[in-house]
């Protein structure tokens, strides 16, 4: 793990000057904040889209925090991912109200339309399907979130139309 920073993979965000600049800026801005690790990782996740093992090593080195601690935090929280994801994310809410409202059927329908299970990305890299816990829109259950857009009271017949946005 230690020499990870010497052989940065060509596809890693750290290998692209633009993205590296973003990473450096995030580190610089939050360096002195108490409890900065969470803030930095949250920022990296939302700006870069994922936190690769090499990025974790980089954060560890820059922040003087042991790598295992960084990895421990990244692997603990479900929002942090270590691999790049599809262009779009399709999240199926699995809160109580959505479950009772038929979220399971929507996931099955999505499997038919997109050909992937939750947690996977479509072959063309367009969409990543996820199951999430309660987005807090229970009065509109069942809920599907495509990127930032929330769709409520979704029926299996209407799902393909909603998913079309995530396929292009």
């Amino acid at each position: 793990m230690l020499n990870m920073l010497e052989n940065v993979p060509k596809t890693d965000p750290l290998a692209f000057p633009e993205q590296k600049a973003v990473i450096d800026r995030i580190l610089e801005e939050n360096r002195d904040l108490p409890g900065s690790v969470m803030v930095i990782l949250n920022e990296l996740q939302s700006n870069i889209g994922f936190i690769s093992p090499t990025m974790q090593a980089y954060v560890s080195k820059q922040m003087h925090v042991p790598l295992q601690q960084i990895h421990g935090v990244v692997s603990f929280y479900s929002f942090f991912t270590t691999q790049s994801r599809g262009k779009h994310t399709v999240k199926f809410c699995m809160g109580t109200a959505c479950y009772v409202g038929g979220a399971q059927q929507l996931i099955e329908k999505a499997k038919q339309v997109l050909g992937v299970d939750p947690g996977q990305t479509t072959k063309d890299g367009m969409a990543t399907v996820e199951v999430c816990r309660c987005v807090g829109a229970c009065s509109q259950a069942p809920v599907v979130v495509v990127d930032e857009d929330l769709h409520g009271r979704v029926r299996p017949t209407k799902l393909p139309q909603i998913l079309r946005k995530a396929q292009q």
Binding site: S36, M38, V39, N42, Q45, A97, S139, R155
Partner: protein, 592 residues
Amino acid sequence: MKYYRTHVLVCVDPECLAKGAHEVMDSLQDELVAQGLINEVQVLETSRIGSCHIGPEIMVYPEGVHYVGLSTDDIPYLVEEHFLKGRVAKKFLEPEVEAKDEELSAPTSKEVRVVLRNCGKIDPENIEDYIAEDGYEALAKVLTSMAPEQVINEVLASGLRGRGGAGFPAGKKWQFARAPKADQKFIICNADEGDPGAFMNRRVLEGDPHAVIEGMIIAAYAIGANHGYIYCRAEYPVAVKMLNIAIKQARAYGMLGENILGSGFSFDLEVRMGAGAFVCGEETALMASIEGKRGEPRPRPPFPAISGLWGKPTNVNNVETYANVAQIILKGAAWYASMGTEKSKGTKTFALAGDVNHTGLIEVPLGINMREVIYDVAQGIKDGKKLKAVQIGGPMGGCLPEAFLDRPIDYESLAAAGTIMGSGGLVVMDEDTCMVDIARFFMEFIQDESCGKCTPCRVGTRRMLEILQRICNGDGRDGDIETLEMLCKYIKTTSLCGLGQGAPNPVESTLKHFRHEYEAHIYEKRCPAKVCRGLIRYEIVDACTGCTVCARNCPVGAISGERRKQHVIDVNTCIRCGICMQVCNFNAIEVH
């Protein structure tokens, strides 16, 4: 194949048929023939287009115009306008739906709004709106005329209890945090509202962020803290945005920062975001997360009031608790204590969801009974069905049967019934819900969200889930119920934090109130509510018109049949998802 310039789809689902869709279709055909357009316009039948309550309705392509509420008398006009002259016949267009707040509607007569009083009424992005509604008046009163002890006594006298779930008296908590001498103390607002089915806190943060901030400043003054954090879950980006705007404005108006309102008291606040870990709603895990660590709870004592964030005395309350504080200071403890029951004072917000006619947020005085909430405030069960259970308190809460509807909703009564107040999620379930399946759902959630630090919760919940999955799959065995009961007892008594200690609640309460359903699954291999996939099968009956809707929607291609002929489900391919039953317009699919 013949080409047409226009296609007209006529909705022929049962609702529209009942309103005369076929007559409209026939008259449309006749009129097109009369106008000599029949070779240019094709009329087809289709299933449901829109909501159908103003049927019969048609869809005209390629324009994509949707006409509703047609009768045979309207057809000549419509054909002349649209198909002959090419103008949209405006009077048959679907009326625009008036925008309405789906989450928070006007209060019903049983409601009292304290926490939600400003939500949807004021502009959350403008501090002046809040000030116009008596905002920050309580803070001014506290800073200019009350000693910290007086503030604590006022909150104590109001009887306000922690609204996060456990119901610990807020004033007591402040007293504990005030006692130790320290160079620094912290105030934390727990906005990690993770319970599925609960969204009251989100709405307050988004709609009235200053109320929470004001409550926190008052609490900070009472315990002597100079810095605060609002820990908000990452699933609520809008709430985080509103909070940040509100904090900035409060600073600009001198409500936050150095020397607040010229009183010499200084306090500042910042928002920290979670990253999708349910256990971070537990106060010690939450503090670990703010410190930048894995959100794992630690044993108490020491309690946060003695050694909390970075080892400093810390007071943690939830959003709703803080949102009550300013009102208590302004209107007095006696006013607040006049609402509620002997031990549970004030009001409580609930998020109503599930099979009721009116879903959304409500705020009612504690002590109201469940029947009033469900049948008066929520206007009863959807589609005239029967109520089976009310799930209250989130994944660590329990399911209550109809027999409990007349008991008051307060902390003590709920605990006696085997559930908790929780943060206020109320999911109402009708007779079509399988309680074993619900118990399995919650166990799956808890097992997934268990942080893994202590063994009873990590391993115990997994064992329970395995048993429940087996029962739902139809492989339940004699002795499973007893094993579950034993595991419930052990996990409850030996887990480290509230998550593990509450984990068995959904199973325990369903075992207590719906034991017969478990027995039906295990001994009769039957799911009474026809939900558990391992124990049911779907069948297409004579009512089938062969419309092919089910076959087109089946995710595994298990349905076959010719157009206009009865279809058949291949039992071996069928995964029993029930989509076919949901999309069928003729009630031709039955479950056994």
